[in-house]
Structures are given as C-alpha cells and as structure tokens.
C-alpha cells in the first residue's frame, strides 16, 4: 500500500460542489483538486465553508449539487475507506469510556486492518504509554493525537486533517508539522485546514483559500504571498471581500 507505487494523479477532486442550508449557502460552486506529494493548506475565515467541504468530501454531508471524489470515487463508494483516506475531524470524538487502544481497535476491525496497525499508529503518535487509559481523562492534545492515530491507521495515501493543531502544545504543533512534511515526502496527499496562517506558512506547499463558500485562491504559498510583506497580508487582501465577521462589515 505504499503510495509511491500508485499512478500519480489528483487524489482529491472537488467539482462544482455546492451546499445550501435553506436560503443560506455554505459552499458555492467550489472546484479544486489536491495533488500528491505536497501539503495543501485549506485556509479561510470562520464560517467560510471549510468544514462543510471536508464533511462533503467524507460523505458526512450530502451536497446540494456537484461532487467530491477521493481517488476518483465518491467517498461512500469506498469499501475500506481507512486504507484510502485518513481523516481527522474534530467532531469525531472517541467515546470517553473507551480506552485509546479499543477506540483504534474497533476502527481497525471495521476496515479489516491488522491489530499490528493499532500498535504502529499508537507508536507514531506517541500514545503507546497511555493506550490502556480511558479517553475521558485525555487532554485536548492527547485527544488530537488519538484522532491523528485513527487517521494513520490504514496507512492511507491521502490524509484530510481538519484543524489538526487545535489543542496541541508547542511541542505537539512542531510534531504535527514534521509529521505532515514527512507524510507528504512519502508521496502522500495532505489536505489540512486551519485558520492559523502562520501555521500553514510553515507547513504547507500550496494553499486553497475560500471565503463565503467560494474559492478565492489556489496557488503555491510562494506565489500567493508574492507582492505582500507577509502571508498574513496576502491573506487579508485576498479575503477582504468575503469575510462575514470583520468589524464594521455586514453579515
């Protein structure tokens, strides 16, 4: 299952994806693709539609129109999805009464993965020592690591990480950055959403910027920040017209 052995193509493809909740449009006519071997940052203000897009990508939410494909197929058509896409979604909380080991164990079993994968994922996320503890007692950072362990369980060529640095301490932030760089270096496709520009400036090769549910930019980090003092300046210039909550703005 090494990603290096695969045909190189766009692992994530979003085509004219639209989601409306009643009169409100969360995501509008979004089209982009994510390339292998790089970390693609998914950036946008709160309420821009990042999480909704990721939820549609993972078939957790049904799009109003358009489609999202993983490895050329809709997510719901994947028979053992954990082997193809590793996902970190902050709402996918483990049951507090279950141990970290059992949480990963049932996930592995659901996709026919060997128990050895559980040990490897625990090891890679530094959770081996607390594997037998109930998740209830975990700190936010430990929970986040457990979520990443779950994403790595199937050794997937594609990873979709929604706000992975949330709750991590500086050491954890450093660790996840190195992890993402390492995974991309192995030829995997990484899509990582964040609202922390400085974090993405360090971790990402490419940026997808959305605002108000629309795609505002799809570029390399370098090209995106060209002509601006910092990436942050470039971001504010890019999202100026699409931010719902900036002071003085109207919703």
């Amino acid at each position: 299952m090494r990603p290096g052995g695969r045909t190189v193509g766009d692992m994530i493809e979003v085509q004219q994806l639209t989601k409306r909740y009643g009169p409100r449009t969360a995501v509008e006519d979004l089209t982009f693709s994510v390339r292998p071997g790089s970390v693609t940052g998914f950036l946008g203000p709160n309420g821009a539609g990042k999480s909704t897009t990721i939820r549609m990508l993972l078939a957790l939410t049904t799009p109003t129109s358009g489609r999202a494909l993983v490895n050329g197929r809709p997510y719901q058509n994947l028979r053992q999805p954990l082997r193809e896409v590793g996902a970190l979604v902050d709402t996918a909380g483990p049951h507090g009464g279950r141990t970290a080991y059992r949480h990963l164990h049932w996930l592995a079993a659901s996709n026919g993965l060997d128990r050895r994968r559980v040990d490897e994922a625990l090891d890679r996320t530094g959770l081996t020592g607390v594997a037998g503890r109930r998740v209830r007692g975990f700190s936010l950072g430990m929970r986040q690591r457990l979520g990443i362990a779950a994403a790595l369980l199937g050794d997937p060529p594609t990873l979709v990480l929604d706000e992975p640095v949330n709750g991590l301490d500086p050491e954890g932030v450093h660790w996840i950055r190195a992890l993402m760089r390492g995974l991309a270096g192995e030829g995997r496709t990484i899509l990582v959403s964040s609202h922390l520009i400085s974090e993405l400036a360090l971790a990402a090769d490419r940026l997808l910027v959305i605002g108000g549910g629309r795609l505002l930019a799809d570029d390399t980090v370098e090209a995106f920040s060209r002509g601006h003092a910092t990436l942050e300046d470039a971001y504010f210039a890019c999202t100026a017209g699409a931010v719902a909550y900036r002071s003085g703005g109207v919703r």
Binding site: L60, P81, G93, G97
Partner: protein, 255 residues
Amino acid sequence: MTALRAEWIKLWSVRSTRLALGAAVAFAVGLGVADTVAAVRGWDTMPAADRAAFDPLASAFAGLTFAQLALGVLGVLAVTSEYSSGTIIATLIAQPRRSVAFAAKAGTLLGVALVAGETLAFGSYLLGQAILHGKHLDIGLGAPGVLRSVVSAGLYLCVVTMVGFGLGALLRHPAGATAALIAVVFLAYGAAKALEVWSYLPSRLLLSNAGDVVAQVHAVAAKPRLPSLGLAYLDLALYLLAALGLGAWRSARDA
C-alpha cells in the same frame, strides 16, 4: 463481517454494557427469588381460587419486569452514546454506507440481547423451580406450554432491548430515549387502561401485555383486555420491526 466485528468490540469496550447486563441479572435473580419465596411461604394460607390460578412461572419471572428496563437502557446506550460522544462520525468515516453501519450495530445488539434475554429467562425459571420444588409446586420444561413460555419470556426481553435501541437511534439522545422507553414499556399501560371503556384494542397492542401473555403457561382467553397468544406474538414482531424501521430511517439522515 468486519462491520459486525467492529460493533462487537465497541459494545464490549464500554463499561455501560456490563453494568446494564449486571443490573438485569441482579433484578431478575433478586426479585424473582423474593417473589417465589413469598409465594411458597404464603401457599398454605392461600385461598383455593388463587391456588387454582397459580402460575408457577409468574413469580419466577417477577424480576424480569425490572430486568427489562436495564436491557432497554442497554439498547438506548448502545446507540445514543455514539451520538453524544461524536463516535458516530468516526463510525461513518470508517463505514460510509449508513445502512450497513446501522445493520451491523442492530445485528450485533440483537444477538447479544437474544442471548441475554434467553439466559435471564431460563436462569429465572430454573431458580424459581428450585425454590418451588420445596412445596412440590415446580413444573418441568416438558409440561405443556412451559418451554414455549420460557423461550418467549427471553424473546420479549430481546424485543424490549431492541425497542430501546430503536428509540435511541430515532431520538439520538440518552435521556430522551430512556424516557420514551419507560413510556412505551411502563406508562403506556395506564393510558391503554384508561381507554378500555371504549376499546380493548390499545391494551391488546401493548408491548408489556404481549410480554405477559407469551410468558404465561395458563391460557388467558378469559381476559378480553389481553391479546390472544397469536396477537401477542404479532405484537412483539411489530414492535421489533417498528423499532428497527424507525432507527434505520433516522440513521440514513445526516449525522
């Protein structure tokens, strides 16, 4: 198969499963023994009419009335805990076909509930008969209707568990689903009774009345407010189907 294995691991890796089953056993044994011992003690002073109507299973099954609540709550928690913790998202990420995810969860619980229900029914029966044996009031499994009654008592407990599961899947909230379960299993009795002035039908369609009828050895044709044996089994089947149907329908919606 992998989905069933995952659900099996999930079910046994939380404390509430063992607690609920333990509570069910404690209720079944404790109250069953107490009620049977009371019946044996009172036998000598019991009026002849009561002696004639004595059902050697009824007192042994007295504890099952409470055990059913523990099992129903097990059904509720098996599904609502996923929604309150967010594990349902992880479940759907691992198994995006919602019908498969629901079927695996329902099937796993159905198997466990059936084994638990039958174990409780046969355990209660054997314990009760051992106590009744002192007064030679015991009745063998070979006697007419006894095996059917004991098996049916277990079946009823399994249906109550699945009703809890269906309500949990429908309401996705532990407190709400438990309240609904208590309403369906216990409180509906009073409501149906109030309507008996106009019609016996509500009482005949009641889950608890169906449970009473299928678990009794003696014929109950004399009581028009209770369902016939055939209708009672049909009731159980309808409750099971309704619980699974509503749960499946709801689980197909966005989590």
